[in-house]
Amino acid sequence: MAENGIGASVRRKEDKRFLIGKGNYTDDINVAGQTYASFVRSPHAHATINGIDTSVAKASAGVVAVFTGDDLAADGIGPLICGVTVTSDDGEPHRAPAHPALAQGKVNYVGDHVAIVIAETLAQAKDAAEKVDVDYTALPAVTETGTAADAGQPQIHDLAPNNMCYNWPFGDKDAVEAAFASAHKVSSLDLVNNRMVTNPMEPRAALGEYNSGTEEITLHLTTQNPHVHRLVMSAFNQLAPEHKLRIVSPDVGGGFGAKIFVYAEELVVGWACRKVNRPVKWTGDRTEAFLADAHGRDHVTTAEMALDENGKFLAMRVMTKANLGAYLSTFSTMVPSYLYVFLLAGQYTTPLIYSEVKAVFTNTAPVDASRGAGRPEATYLVERLVDVAAADMGLEPAEIRRRNFIAQDAFPYQTPVVQCYDSGDYETALDKALVLADHDGFAARAEEAKSRGLLRGIGLSSYVEACGIAPSAAVGQLGAGVGLWESAQVRFNPTGNVQVFTGTHSHGQGHETTFAQLVTEQLGVPIENIEVIHGDTAKTQFGMGTYGSRSLAVGGVAIAKACEKLINKGKKIAAHALEAAEGDIEFTDGNFTIAGTDKGMNIAEVAFNAYVPHSYPEGLEPGFDENAFFDPLNFSFPAGTHICEVEVDPETGVVDIVRYSAVDDFGRLINPMIVEGQVHGGIAHGIGQALMEGCRYDSEGQLITASYMDYAMPRADNVPNFDVDYAPTDPPDNPLGVKGCGEAGAIGAPPAIINAITNALGVKHIDMPATPENVWRAAQSAA
């Protein structure tokens, strides 16, 4: 292994700048002549707009311009799009009502964008925004996921009768019904997957600059996928041709999915900077993030499992209503469909699965991917239902899982829901987790807790997820408008140091270190001589960005392929310089040598020769700089078992997570320190969902959890230390042998926590978030 190569917990290259205050986030950037934008947002969840009077605002001090949806439409900008088609049960594509970036005649959620005010200072922009006079006629609102499609509900979009976006059945309904009819036992569960606000700590921001000489727009954005933004804004929103639009996403303060999407503010700022021919800056505040960032989750589900007399799963049936909010966000349609239903097999051999997903519109913020995206929803229902089934059958939770696990020798395993898992060893992960959690000692700990008046519970979750998205042909068949390959460029400079350009984007994941480790391992260049560059469409050739735990599993492979090309070219150059046959040249640890001799040259010398080709192989191109694209062969299937142990105070309903153990299969670890950090963060996100976080609208569609005073984020004293270990397998479909690790914690944690609480209380179910009030009520009803 190269020093600082694969498997080393290298300290992060990116840390120094963050630690000394030299991070470069979008709002940190200021340019000469900059103006400031403030958005006028709808105070109503559902209203028609009778007129907008901007005259007073326009005359307000310092105001440069005020624009509304009419101005945007006059320039042919927008509407915002959704890039994935889901075919509804009537054979038609999902209903896709227009999503104007600035409202046209109607608003559909509180925070919906009505106008942009641009002024010399931020304070002047905000002052003037309050002077935009919008004449609304309020309409009744629809906010509840479970009833939005019921008869008699207010209608949001003419194009979507009964507020239905799609009804998407999947699987063999008749076969599943037959299996249920002859089953020994049927277990069932109604549950809610609570709506979350994703809440990366850096609010979204945009800084647009227009160069009237080159006619190029440069847009600094808080995005996880700058090239996708450029593509969508060019091809679908008519902002500017792709070659005249540059997106820069510098340091980005967390994403977790919320910064994937093309948002109204971003498009409008990009357009407005050209319109006023001045730089325009918008920085969202936290209230705007709550109102207008895409939210996550929000399912209402009934799930049933048919079992035989041995506790083997015969069939599963899942009926889900999923809230997509007022408009379709960029990838929203695929979240409660492909990213959800295709995970319903979990770690089990359940042969028959039938599901129906009814996706509905409501007068709430758009809902889209949020850390895990569909997979936490699937895992939560599967792992809760399995615990309910265990109780119904009188089996231990670990035992019913063992009886139904896909066996270690059964991979690759074709599930009944499209996915073909390439590797896994679920029983080993379970066994290791039981030891790590000292499951055998639980009974004694519970007894001791009882002496203190506390109820102690333990819960398991054996999850699998599908990430590393995704094979382009597969997602194309499903209706995606893009391919999901990744690209890389590895460039030697003549002096021997290396620049690595990746199409993925790091917003906390540590790519600058992990990817440098890949390169130092493969090329033998010291890690301090390697720089990883991302987040600028003018620097990186192209890229699909970072989400779905894809950066290493897809983008890392592209980097490795580019390195391989350099080695192959380097052999030709070295062979010439060393006066040997190319076939006799070996490459190890950064040196090209003639096999069986100590005669050789370093890769830095080869790079120099490539740029100063005075004596050089005939016909070979100069330069030492290679591109590669990689389209994955399959999804990546991390899996594992998480075990949560809680103490519940029945008098107060307070849940204390006293122990949390996670054993995961992420294949080969490049930087164990970074992987463990991803696990920690994911679990804490899951703890937030399970215990604290619940986004709530009232019946009129007012967001009543619109700040950190009302929306409970996990804080340092809400979470424990985590015990983390691994049970790796070697995924044959990934050339690096790696699996994604960024979302697993958020997927595995919620059911482990709720299973622990229901175990402590002796109740069948409790909905998330299990706040003290909810737990106290459940404890009272159980007592």
Partner: protein
């Protein structure tokens, strides 16, 4: 507009400010000290923590005019040239940061915790003391380790 004079990171600074300007805006916009961040609008997240006259304060909750004559220390004022402050080094060594956005506030709060509680910090104390700083990335595990290790290193 009033003019204020104060010391920031041991250097005298002054500026004309609107009465309603917040200290964090003065630091970021007037002085270009963009290491101090704004993550919320309700004084909850702690991304904007700086020290004023030796005590930690959320700089989104203080008007710039209130800092007249004060000694302000920001994240930019901690390192000694190329050498990181022991608390900064501890965050690096213990992977106490991911996206880096909450990090300056975390480090400034950590120093205040050490100032008030000494160098031998237990996990419970650190967790309770950190409730005014929100992090979405790390799950706090490594932040707690960092603060404990940094506190110890500061005493060595």
């Amino acid at each position: 507009m009033p003019t204020i004079k104060l010391n920031v990171n041991e250097k005298p600074v002054s500026g004309e400010v609107e009465q309603r300007m917040l200290l964090v805006q003065f630091l970021r916009e007037n002085l270009g000290l963009t290491g101090t961040h704004v993550g919320c609008d309700t004084s909850q997240c702690g991304s904007c923590v700086v020290h004023v006259d030796g005590k930690s304060i959320k700089s989104c909750t203080m008007l710039a005019v209130m800092a007249e004559g004060c000694e302000v220390t920001t994240i930019e004022g901690l390192a000694n040239g190329a050498e990181l402050h022991p608390m900064q080094q501890a965050f690096m060594d213990n992977h106490g940061l991911q996206c880096g956005f909450c990090t300056p506030g975390m480090v400034m709060s950590a120093l205040d915790i050490v100032n008030r509680n000494g160098n031998n910090l237990d996990e419970t104390t650190v967790r309770k003391e950190l409730v005014g700083n929100i992090c979405r990335c790390t799950g706090y595990h490594n932040i707690v380790k960092s603060v404990t290790a940094g506190a110890k290193a500061m005493g060595d």
